[in-house]
């Protein structure tokens, strides 16, 4: 795993606390770290160089805001500059008098065909357009068949396949069909081609000239490395791009290619693909990709995911229980299940800034998803009464439960203990608020987890609260990056209940580790 930029800068700046403003030397000291971070995120070198220079200019002389560590302040400057560079507003798809052509180009395996179907679906459903899809890929085996099948799945018309036709002819036929049958948009899915393959690039150019597309989208993989610059430039020169569609953003690539391609072509990233199903397409949010490139985690996505999967009513019910300090096995169970729905503990940890590494550490400590599974089995082997009143559990009952769940009495005991610990933590958390708890967790982890403190500092509970509020109102863009709404910690401000519970859950990992240490 990559060390996140905030961790690195935290180290560099730890000596600088208490200074009035960022001097040139300070900024120089971090510019190398920023450079490496961007390169590790696959931003292309020339783009990185320009960017770092502009950051230096912006940061030198900047007054240090009180209560914020200079590292974070630089990250905020970097983050904002990134957002600005990636384009601050979402760019809409354009239309012209029907039938207008959409041309999809890109390297082999970048996801053109799937993206074609996804965009066609959006055009149909959101923009009420009548769309025809045509595959010009006569090279890859079954490529035309693939688009045809996607058309059948999505209910979107596809051009009849005629064997042996040249791409340009297919494109012309598609436009003719579009005209005759009254289609608004004709989507042309081209074959994958290498940017240095002159013949193939000439073919793309010919198709472009024959159809005069209103949108020419470069489909590019979010995992692309330094080559992104070359590819984007070559395609832009050959066919004149109007925008970029970034695919596989649901992977764990940092997505620096987005920045490279935007920088060299100046063309906006219009859409992102976030899954294999044809509904999994989204408009581009620069701030999220910026956060990802910097390895800051993706709080917004986590909150969104939580909102998607966590049952509100249940969460509220649980929050009330927490406040009273009541917490039984039913609650623990539903918590575990919600966590599983969100992709397991590791997946969630990775989305929290600075906690990516903690996921690994928890795993080492044996707190992983298989443990959750085991514990679920234990709870399932309890009677209803036992689940509600953990105190009922005596030796005999424990033996029965252990036998029923295929575990051992020790494991049952461990779970009981964990529940008690959580009850205690809940009570304490109520008193301390988020920041206090984070510090405590740090203490419990044996001081190893500096990132927790970073997190406690950088997390703005109010900001998160606002995000959740926005979600509750179903108010669209969840924009604010962790820095947008002020910095530092406001003690006492609680997190929304579901996040609170999630964090509560992670704390017992710390406990366990801590205890092991004590024993040694």
């Amino acid at each position: 795993m990559f060390e996140s930029l905030s961790d690195k800068l935290g180290g560099v700046f730890s000596k600088l606390r208490g200074k009035g403003s960022l001097s040139e030397n300070d900024v120089m000291a971090v510019s190398r770290e920023i450079r490496v971070a961007l390169l590790e995120a696959d931003v292309a070198l020339p783009v990185v160089k320009d960017f770092v220079t502009s950051i230096k200019e912006k940061a030198v002389g900047e007054a240090v805001i009180k209560g914020v560590n200079p590292g974070q302040q630089v990250i905020k400057i970097v983050h904002d500059a990134l957002v600005e560079m990636l384009g601050s507003e979402a760019q809409e798809l354009q239309f012209a008098s029907p039938p207008c052509a959409y041309l999809m180009v890109g390297l082999q395996g970048s996801g053109k065909t799937t993206s074609t179907a996804k965009i066609a679906k959006i055009l149909t459903e959101k923009h009420n357009k009548k769309v025809l899809m045509a595959s010009l890929d006569i090279y890859r085996p079954a490529a035309q068949e693939q688009l045809k099948q996607l058309g059948e799945q999505t209910g979107i018309a596809t051009l009849e396949i005629i064997e042996g036709q040249k791409p340009v002819d297919i494109a012309k036929r598609a436009m003719d069909t579009g005209r005759k049958e009254g289609f608004d948009v004709v989507m042309l899915d081209t074959a994958g081609r290498l940017s240095i393959d002159e013949e193939m690039m000439a073919e793309a150019n010919a198709v472009q000239k024959a159809t005069n597309p209103i949108e020419t989208l470069l489909v590019a993989d979010a995992m692309t490395g330094q080559d992104a610059v070359q590819t984007a430039k070559a395609f832009d020169e050959a066919v004149g791009l109007t925008g970029i569609m970034l695919t596989r953003v649901d992977g764990d690539a940092r997505g620096g290619a987005a920045m490279s391609m935007k920088a060299v072509t100046g063309k906006p990233i219009k859409l992102i693909g976030v899954g294999e199903k044809w509904t999994e397409i989204e408009t581009f949010h620069p701030d999220r990709i910026a956060g990802r490139i910097l390895g800051m985690g993706d709080i917004v996505s986590l909150v969104e995911k939580a909102a998607e999967t966590v049952d509100r009513a249940e969460a509220e019910k649980m929050a009330k229980k927490f406040k009273k300090g009541q917490f039984d096995f039913n609650d623990l169970l539903s918590q575990m299940q919600q966590m599983k729905k969100m992709g397991g503990m590791g997946a969630m940890m990775k989305m929290l800034p600075g906690l990516g590494q903690m996921a690994g550490q928890l795993e080492e400590a044996g707190v992983d998803d298989s443990m959750i599974k085991r514990q679920e089995a234990i709870i399932f082997s309890m009677t209803v009464q036992e689940r509600e009143k953990p105190d009922l559990l005596n030796a005999k009952r424990k033996q029965r439960i252990a036998a029923g769940s295929g575990t051992s009495v020790q494991q049952v005991n461990q779970l009981v203990k964990q529940l008690k610990q959580m009850q205690t933590v809940m009570k304490r958390m109520k008193k301390m608020g988020m920041g206090g708890m984070m510090k405590q967790m740090k203490g419990l982890m044996g001081g190893k987890m500096d990132e927790l403190e970073m997190m406690a500092q950088s997390m703005d509970p109010d900001g998160l609260g606002a995000d959740m509020a926005a979600l509750e109102d179903n108010a669209g863009p969840l924009g604010p990056n962790p820095f947008a709404s002020g910095n530092g910690l406001k003690p006492g401000a609680g997190l929304p209940s579901d996040l609170e519970s999630l964090l509560g859950n992670s704390s017992h990992g710390g406990k366990k580790k801590d205890r092991k240490k004590k024993k040694r």
Binding site: P141, L194, G225
Partner: protein
Amino acid sequence: MVFWRRKKNQKQHEEEQRDDKLLHPEGEPDLELPTEYDAEMDEHTRHEMEETEEEIIEELDEAPVPAHSIEEDAKEAEELSDHTNEGGWLSRLTRGLTKSSNKITKGITDLVTKKKLDQDTLDQLEEVLIEADLGPKTAAKIIDDFAKDRFEKEIDEKEIKTALAGLMSDILAPVAVPLNIEKREDGPFVVLVCGVNGAGKTTTIGKYAYQLRAQGFSVMMAAGDTFRAAAVEQLEEWSKRAGAKFLSKDVGADAAAVAYESYQQAKEQGVDVLLLDTAGRLQNKKNLMEELEKIIRVLKKQNEDIPHATLLVLDATTGQNAFSQLETFKEMVNVTGLIVTKLDGSAKGGVLVGLADQFGMPVHAIGIGEGIEDMQPFRAQDYARSLVGIEF
């Protein structure tokens, strides 16, 4: 004020002590999970894994010398190629690789005629490596090694190229291992092919089957990608081109069932090599990775030794995410080797150097085009030399 705070702290302290007592009463029996138990669980899995690895190593050791040497392969491929497609076999490789080295070469040529090796030059060299996707860390490491005995010394372009190529070749040489396919008594030699979406798995299988056929093996392909539209048709077309047997089930069928059935069929029909295609999956999709694990589980039930090889197909345009890909696939499905595709493009696939350094994972072959013959064994020296632009 101070007094108050102390008092407050004290209260908290007491509270904590009380809680602690509550949680860990004196004379509390040792409820901590006996470490043996954990160890037992883990060890079991670990044991299983280690065993598999050992077996593979053993297999490699005992493997008979392949009937065909690389030279013979080359000759055969040369004979088999129809030459209608511009140029012979070697020139295609050269072309593919020089294409990928164009930029790096230019970069270096710009640098030096003959002068003292200074920090500026080193920085520029480092940048050249970074632009080839070696990644900042690997690039820095190679430049450090390079500068060790050469800093401040007179050096010219050729020396720089040779030395850099040598350094990278040293890292890459141990992983340039062809995949040893052998005819087995107990059934087909099973090769499972996995990778992220769009890496080029199906095309790779097509090319690989063709190569194996040319070497005299009988081959069956199984369409384990039951998810993507027309993936089955795509593989079927390749099977026709390569002259391989083909097995598929309906779209949406369980990929593990395809694996199971294909192994049965291949065994019955006495096929030498079974190539199992799988659906593309991003390494961070847990459920999809588990599906892949399941395929292997199902295979292992029939024969502990299979799959004999699990190949990860890696796109050369991929940047630093390749680390995450290899790490996860290796951990989940015990990848035994890599095939790097799309090296005929402008991407240089320099991430390979870092991968070789960190994982030491064998690189069996590279893909340099969409034609059925466009697959070559990975040769460390050639690759390293072409990366820095030394002509063949």
